[in-house]
């Protein structure tokens, strides 16, 4: 049962990912990416990562993708600007590199399979998906990383505003 759900979600996820990189229109790609995020959230929920699944839907599918769509609308990209690359070379190089990565990772996963990886299902303790234990861990053990993350976000906000601010209009 769990494997069936996993298979359905992963097929939808891979199909969505292929749509993301093949669709011509940026808006359609963004919608496909939202779909991929939602299926990945389902995969997280399937193995009990409920908190991360919720964060994935709220932050990724909600906020980040809305930002993407907002920028796409803002740019108003004309059709002649979105040219599909006619360069065969990039396409072949990309395919070769992607396939090489896939083979490499597949080789090691396969090696792990034969050498008896601890990949079998073990019942997670109750606190695995509880927000209480995650927040306790974040605010005690990983407090420094959490604070550094907040500084990173602040820097990103300042940088994004500085970059995207209009030149002529705000100086008056």
């Amino acid at each position: 049962m769990q494997l069936a759900i996993f298979t359905i979600f992963s097929i939808m996820c891979i199909a969505g990912a292929i749509l993301v990189i093949t669709l011509r229109s940026p808006v359609s790609s963004a919608i496909a990416l939202v779909f991929v995020m939602c299926t990945i959230a389902g995969l997280f929920a399937l193995i009990g990562g409920l908190f991360v699944a919720a964060i994935q839907v709220i932050v990724y599918a909600g906020a980040v993708m809305v930002l993407f769509l907002f920028v796409i609308m803002l740019l108003n990209i004309k059709d002649e600007l979105i040219q599909r690359d006619e360069k065969k070379l990039t396409r072949i190089l990309g395919g070769v590199l992607g396939a090489a990565f896939l083979l490499e990772i597949g080789f090691f996963v396969r090696k792990g399979l034969t050498s008896g990886s601890p990949g079998l299902f073990m019942p997670a303790p109750n606190e695995f998906s509880s927000i209480e234990s995650i927040s306790t861990s974040i605010f005690t053990k990983y407090l420094f990383a959490f604070e550094v993350t907040s500084i990173l976000l602040l820097v990103a906000i300042v940088g994004a505003i500085m970059l995207a601010r209009g030149k002529g209009r705000t100086e008056t």
């Binding site: 494997l3 908190f51 991360v52 930002l67 992607g98 990772i105 996963v109 299902f121 974040i138 990173l152």
Partner: protein, 102 residues
């Protein structure tokens, strides 16, 4: 029963799709979306290892949250750069952004 290997294979496939898209998309926004795909495959690895290897230590889940934060920051700054490029030079094609090449 879905095992760790299933999750690892899925994330490998997703990562390779992301790499392929990163190298073949010419639209800057498409490149950023491919990077998001790769972030997500890393997140799948984090959650799967957290669940199957150390289910009592929550480290993978917390780092997945951090990865999502970093991805949000990266998307914000990257999109700001795309907006700037479009506004100043009227291009979104990453092949044409080569002013610092020579």
């Amino acid at each position: 029963m879905a095992t760790l290997d299933h999750y690892l294979i899925l994330s490998a496939i997703l990562f390779c799709i992301g790499i392929f898209g990163l190298l073949t998309r010419r639209n800057a926004i498409g490149v950023l979306m491919s990077i998001e795909l790769m972030f997500n495959s890393a997140n799948i690895n984090f959650i799967a290892f957290s669940k199957f290897i150390t289910p009592e230590a929550l480290t993978g889940q917390i780092f997945a949250v951090f990865v999502i934060t970093v991805a949000a920051a990266e998307a914000a700054v990257g999109l700001a750069i795309v907006v700037l490029m479009y506004r100043n030079f009227d291009i979104v094609n990453v092949d044409n952004i080569n002013f610092m090449k020579w």
